[in-house]
Every structure is written in C-alpha cells, then in structure tokens.
Amino acid sequence: MLDQVLATLTRYGSPALFGIVAIAAIGVPVPITLLLIVTGSLSAQGSINVWMAIAMASVGSVAGDQIGYAVGRWGGKALVAKFHWMLGGAKRIKELEAKAKRWGGAGIFFSRWLVSPLGPFINLTSGLADYSWLRFTLWDFLGESFGAALFIWLGFLFSDRVQEIGAIFGDLTWAILGVLAAAFLGWKLFVRR
C-alpha cells in the first residue's frame, strides 16, 4: 500500500497530496511523515511548488481532521452512551471529557506532528468532549501547518536521502510515544502507592 501511495504522489503531485493527507487524517494508517519528506524531495526536484505543497498538506489534513471531530461530536455521543460501561462508566467518560477540554489545545497541536499516530484519536475525543470547534480548528491548523512545513522542508533539504530521513523520524515518533506511555504508566503506579 505504501508503494502505491508514494507512486501516486510522485505521479500526480499536489492534488494527490491533498487527498492522501485527508484520508490519513481520518484514521487510515499512512506514514504521513515519510509522505511529507518525499513531497519535500519532489519540491527540490521542481515537480511540486513548495508553498503549494505546504498549503495542500495543511488544508487536506485539516479537512480530514474535521471529519473525525464531527463524528465524535455528532455521531459518537449516541455510541458512547450505549457502550459507556466498556470505557469505564459514565463517571469515567466525564473525567476524560474534562481532561480533553483542559489539555485540548496542546494535545491537538502536538498530535498533528510530534505524535501523529494519536491525531485521529484526539480528533474523535475533542468532538466527544464538546471542545470548541473554533479552538479545535485553530490549533489543528497551526499544528498541521507547522508539521507540513517542518517535514517538507526536511525533505527539501535532504532531498536525496528521503528514505533514511523518513525512517529516522518515523522511529523517533514511536520512541516519543513510548516515553509518553512510560511516563503515564509510571505516574499511575506512583499514585497507587
């Protein structure tokens, strides 16, 4: 699948980029970091305009994120009401909603580029928690634009080393997720004592 996605990007450029990042933002597992780095390399080769690529990647991702948010906000509530016992009960859901509202802005911003595998989940929980749509969109746009600019620029700079750079950042993302998980579980263990 990855080969197909990258071949489509290489052949069709910006319109393909828009479509792929939007689909990835909904939750389809696409290695978005590698995709943006390859886009940067294509920009360095003159196949895609770099500014157009950043704009397409940002707007496409925001469009996909909006779908996740909308599902959480308008479609997910009925499901959660039906299956709240599976998620720890109604009280636990209320706590999660409160946390989502409290950490919303930072969570949305960093899950756009630093820990991107969490992005689709954050979109859903932001919608479920009734997080303000305007604030969600603002943080979402800032995070997606920053991420797109960062990785496309890296790809532009290391245009002949895209696979290695993509692999490094892909692994770093998982390592950061590991650190976050270890910190969370460690904290849970600490408060249990």
Binding site: L2, D3, Q4, V5, L6, A7, T10, R11, Y12, G13, S41, L42, A44, Q45, S47, S159, D160, R161, V162, Q163, E164, I165, A167, I168, F169, D171, L172, W174, A175, L177, G178, V179, A181, A182, L185, G186, K188, L189, R192
Partner: protein, 122 residues
C-alpha cells in the same frame, strides 16, 4: 479478598506496561540512532514507487542516462513509477531496478563517457 486480587492484577499489568513502554522506547530510539549514523554515506535504495527522474536525483545522475538504460524515451517530465514502467514494458520490477542500479554504477565510473549530473559533456 477478591478486591485485593484485582488490585494486584492491575498493578502487575501497570508494571508490565511500564517496562514494555520503556523497551519500546529503547527499540525505536536505537533504530533511529542506527539509521542516523549511516545516513551520510549509504546509497538511497531504489524502490518501485520511485520515478526515473526521482532515482536520478537521489543518485546524482542524469535521468536521460537511466531512461536510455531501460529503453524508454528520455523525458524528465515522465513521472511514472518504476512499477508502472515495468508493467507497461512487460518486465519484472526487480530486473528494471537492477538495470537502473547498473546504469548508475556505470555512470559514476571515472572512465564513463556519460555526462555528469550537473556538469557539461566532456
């Protein structure tokens, strides 16, 4: 009694999860570091999703040389992937990649008669 057993099980799961998360971090951190160490000298592997101009760019070779090597009319705007070309030319992808690799090696030889990537014809 049952409550204590449940609490112990939860603690055990948390401890296991904690060590698993640390192992996960080290594994991916190590892999990232190892890739970073090799990045400066390793040749970018040719993949089937790459177009011929893309391969030419990552290997600092002129795309015309590579197009000629695989028997396709040179066109820098040809963005078909190697897999698409292989399908259209009815060739195995691995063979096409091998031909490209050989053409790159030939082009980089000091006695090569081909034109360097950014230089002028000898």
């Amino acid at each position: 009694m049952r409550k204590t057993a449940t609490t112990n099980l939860r603690t055990l799961l948390l401890v296991l999860g904690f060590f698993l998360a640390i192992a996960f971090t080290f594994f991916f951190g190590y892999r990232a570091g190892r890739t970073a160490r090799h990045v400066s000298w390793q040749n970018e592997p040719i993949q089937s999703w790459m177009s011929v101009p893309f391969v030419a760019h990552t290997h600092h070779t002129r795309s015309e040389i590579l197009f000629k090597a695989i028997g396709v009319p040179p066109n820098p705007r040809d963005r078909r992937s190697i897999r698409d070309i292989a399908r259209e030319e009815k060739l195995p992808v691995a063979e096409l990649i091998r031909t490209l690799r050989n053409a790159i090696t030939d082009a980089k030889r000091p006695d090569s008669e081909t034109v360097p990537p950014s230089g002028k014809a000898p």
